[in-house]
């Protein structure tokens, strides 16, 4: 059991300042604890291809090598903890400077299944991400052709759905888009849901973009298909399949919801996220 984790937030001078001590910027020790206000991002010009994830908070007033005069804007995401008190405090302290280019060292990302360090392409994970989902749907639709047994089909589809849930939650989300979510229970018996996003370097943004697209498409389309199945089962009155369809919807929707919460970052207000997204899109259309 770890002891309480404490972070030194740093010194902030008296707001007025005086001649002896000019006001210093608020410093944050650990960038990993930082999350940001999204307030100023609408005003900034983003290149669509470069926009990946959330902006990093950085130390101000120091030459940390974070600022380089590149013209293209690349954005970084970062590890943060949603229910971390420090991140809420520090998000108020730092403004966003997203139109300077940021360049950080990235930790080497291990490839899938024993791939070499530094590979950002995970074909096996991509395959399995889609394989279980699609085969569950196909089996559900075509089980009458292969076997007349309700039980066999039920068990097969259920197992495929369970494997899909586990692999998307634990493996493919982590490898393909660097997002992760889980539930954790502390000593008092209270359960916390934790959502994480990994920072990515500008170098491999292009490589992972295709993967990210496949990931999100697979994640969004399959629950919709299961909802269609739900209504078809309901109206054709084949109610013995209802349990299976409900299980399918709930498992896939749970993954979708978890990853959307990871992606949204610290924003718990979905209207704000939507507003941001829309304003970015409008700004790009106008500027391009």
């Amino acid at each position: 059991m770890r002891g309480p984790c404490s972070r030194r937030v740093g010194k902030a001078a008296h707001p007025g300042g005086d001649s002896r001590n000019p006001p210093t910027e608020a410093l944050v020790d650990d960038t990993e604890d930082v999350s940001l206000d999204f307030g100023n991002e609408e005003e900034l010009a983003f290149r669509k291809a470069k926009i990946r994830q959330v902006v990093f908070g950085v130390k101000l007033g120091e030459s940390t090598g974070f600022f380089e005069g590149e013209k293209t804007i690349s954005l970084l995401s970062y590890w943060w903890f949603r229910d971390c008190e420090v991140s809420r405090v520090s998000s108020v302290l730092l403004p966003v400077l997203a139109w300077r280019a940021f360049h950080t060292e990235t930790p080497a990302v291990q490839g899938s299944d024993g791939g070499s360090k530094g590979t950002f392409w995970h074909p096996l994970a991509t395959f399995f991400h889609l394989f279980f989902r699609v085969s569950a749907i196909v089996t559900y639709m075509c089980c009458d052709w292969f076997s007349k047994s309700f039980v066999g089909c039920f068990v097969t589809v259920l197992l495929l759905l369970s494997f899909d849930f586990w692999s998307v939650k634990n493996v493919t989300g982590r490898l393909m888009v660097g997002l992760r979510w889980w539930n954790q229970i502390d000593e008092d018996g209270k359960s916390h849901w934790i959502f994480e996003a990994r920072k990515v370097s500008p170098n491999h943004i292009a490589a992972t973009e295709a993967e990210a697209r496949i990931f999100w498409l697979g994640l969004i389309i399959c629950p919709m298909i299961w909802i269609v199945f739900f209504f078809s089962t309901l109206f054709s009155l084949k109610l013995k399949w209802m349990a299976l369809v409900i299980a399918g919807i709930s498992l896939q929707a749970a993954n979708l919801y978890g990853y959307i919460l990871c992606k949204m970052g610290g924003e718990s207000d979905i209207s704000k996220v939507t507003a941001n997204f829309l304003s970015q899109t409008v700004f790009q259309t106008v500027s391009c």
């Binding site: 404490s6 903890f81 420090v86 024993g114 539930n183 229970i185 209270k190």
Partner: protein, 236 residues
């Protein structure tokens, strides 16, 4: 700000006082560096700080989860008061047990058209909705156990009854008769008691003392219904 709001009101009544009058008495004659420590709510798991689980290989993830499931099965077989089953919940065990039980409880053969479809779905629905109902009951009574933890415990504690079902099916291969029935009855009763003991070892602690019986009796009912289904099962 409070000082600003108060002073205009003061101005009208008392002798005029400058703004922030009392502030200088507090003797802030130099900057106060604000520093301190902020403690983050304690994390008892190392997973999120441990970058090795972020980049671990898939095989490690699978083995880790398999070991967790196996450990929980062991905990059910030898019930001890421990927090491990509760803290690290997963629903794989309940799924496997439910499917196994439902498969064994169906009449007719698996691959034919007249298979035990309804009984299969019935077992499934009884197990999962029963577990959800007990969990809701426990939460409404004010227990401090979370939803999925409770489902996890109830699901894993079906293991003794699944073993009883296996034994009953084997016993039913012999000739039918009162002795057959007595053997099955004995086995089912023993396993039923084991399930109750195992689950209350985990669940009862989460309730305040005067509510333990209220929280435990639905568990009793739940396992009783499953035991009844097992006992009255006869193959065609």
């Amino acid at each position: 700000m409070a000082e600003v709001a108060e002073s205009p009101a003061d101005r009208g009544t008392a002798s005029p006082r400058p703004l922030f009058a009392g502030l200088s008495d507090i003797s802030i004659s130099q900057d106060i560096p604000i520093e301190g420590e902020i403690t983050i709510p304690m994390r008892s798991r190392s997973r999120e700080f441990d970058s090795s689980t972020l980049n671990e290989s898939v095989q490690n993830t699978i083995m880790r989860d398999l070991k967790a499931v196996g450990k929980k099965f062991m905990h059910v077989l030898y019930p001890r008061k421990s927090n491990t089953l509760l803290r690290d919940w997963d629903l794989w065990g309940p799924l496997i047990l439910c499917v196994t039980l439902a498969l064994m409880l169906q009449r007719g053969s698996v691959d034919s058209e007249k298979d035990g479809g309804p009984q299969f779905a019935e077992v499934f629905v009884i197990v999962w909705f029963g577990a959800v109902t007990i969990t809701l009951n426990s939460k409404l009574l004010g227990g401090n156990i979370s939803f999925f933890q409770s489902l996890c415990v109830l699901g894993y504690c079906i293991l003794p009854l699944t073993v009883a079902m296996l034994i009953c099916r084997l016993v039913l291969l012999a000739e039918q008769g009162p002795i057959n029935f007595m053997v099955r009855l004995f086995v089912v009763v023993v396993m039923f008691a084991w399930s109750i003991v195992a689950s209350t070892a985990f669940l009862a602690d989460s309730q305040p003392p005067n509510r333990k019986a209220l929280a435990v009796y639905p568990v009793f009912l739940f396992y009783f219904v499953i035991s009844w289904m097992i006992l009255t099962f006869t193959p065609q």
